[in-house]
């Protein structure tokens, strides 16, 4: 799980310069165009960005809570197993 997490983080870090290279810097405006006159593919609606942001926050936090719960369960099981082994060892 942790290895996958670190793998994902490294992937994000390694892709950051590529993402930057693909973005042209903003150009100064030489004319004003009403938004209603833009072609449909250039009109950027806010709702998908807003929904995307909130969905990402909920998924990220939910995923993290699940990850901690899973790790806690694993350690708890290992702790119980080791406890039993130590007790058996001390009896022998």
């Amino acid at each position: 799980m942790n290895r996958q997490l670190f793998g994902a983080l490294l992937l994000v870090l390694s892709l950051a310069p590529v993402a930057h290279a693909q973005q042209p810097p903003p150009q100064p405006q030489d004319e004003f165009v009403p938004v209603s006159e833009l072609p449909p593919q250039d009109q950027l609606p806010s709702a998908p960005l807003l929904i995307g942001a909130y969905a990402f926050v909920w998924l990220a936090l939910g995923g993290y809570v699940l990850s901690v719960a899973r790790r806690l369960n694993t350690v708890q099981r290992e702790l119980e197993r080791l406890d039993t082994d130590v007790k058996k060892g001390s009896r022998a």
Partner: protein, 218 residues
């Protein structure tokens, strides 16, 4: 788990469930419109990122100079939370910027310094995981640098030329926007406390497992 944990977790869950209703009822910002509502999760997550970095740094200091093992567990837990809240900040920010600025990312001082700070805490986790024996102290040293970045990142928008909104925005929020904002900030900070408690418990149990392995070897 302490007695306060279950009620705090329940209150936190209810606050997160209620937050979209408050945000939906908050007024639209005049120039940015709907997309500005990302602000209600973006800024609280950034502030929680700062708090996590400070908690990690302070406890790393206690571990390095006071040999306090419990402080090291808190620091490791807070570093992981700094990475989680940092990711949320660094993803929600560009989603807002795409509409407001026309680009996903700008290499300006606030964004770049936030990314650097986040990378310091990623490095902290990597050093602890793969650094071998004694890596806890190396990681604690890294955390001090991460913590030192917090005031720099916070005031950067006031001293450098940037298109990011300055720190004066939050204190001057009208009540209709301030109410949902402070509610969301309280929810994020409570979530941080709850998750930190859970994560420290995990570190404590891992330490017990190590002790039991040593006992078995003896």
């Amino acid at each position: 788990m302490p007695k306060w944990f279950a009620p705090a977790a329940a209150v936190c869950f209810l606050m997160f469930v209620a937050s979209p209703v408050l945000i939906a009822n908050a007024p639209y910002e005049a120039t940015m419109g709907l997309v500005q509502k990302i602000f209600y999760y973006h800024v609280p997550s950034a502030m929680t990122f700062f708090v996590a970095a400070l908690v990690c740094g302070i406890n790393s200091w206690r571990y390095l100079f006071g040999k306090n093992l419990h402080a090291d567990r808190i620091a490791a837990s807070a570093a992981e939370l700094a990475v989680v809240f940092g990711v949320i900040t660094l993803v929600t920010g560009p989603l807002w910027a795409r509409k407001s600025w026309g680009v996903w990312w700008q290499w300006d001082v606030r964004l770049t310094s936030s990314l650097m700070m986040w990378m310091i805490f990623v490095a902290y986790l990597l050093v602890r995981k793969y650094g071998g024996a004694g890596s806890e102290k190396l990681a604690a040293g890294l955390a001090l640098f991460g913590m030192a970045n917090v005031p720099f990142v916070y005031v950067s928008v006031n001293y450098w030329r940037t298109i990011h909104p300055p720190t004066t925005v939050v204190p001057t929020l009208p009540v209709s926007m301030g109410g949902p904002f402070w509610f969301c900030l309280a929810a994020f900070l409570l979530l941080f406390v709850v998750l930190l408690q859970l994560r420290v418990r995990l570190e404590r149990q891992r330490a017990q497992v190590d002790t039991l392995y040593l006992a078995l070897e003896d």
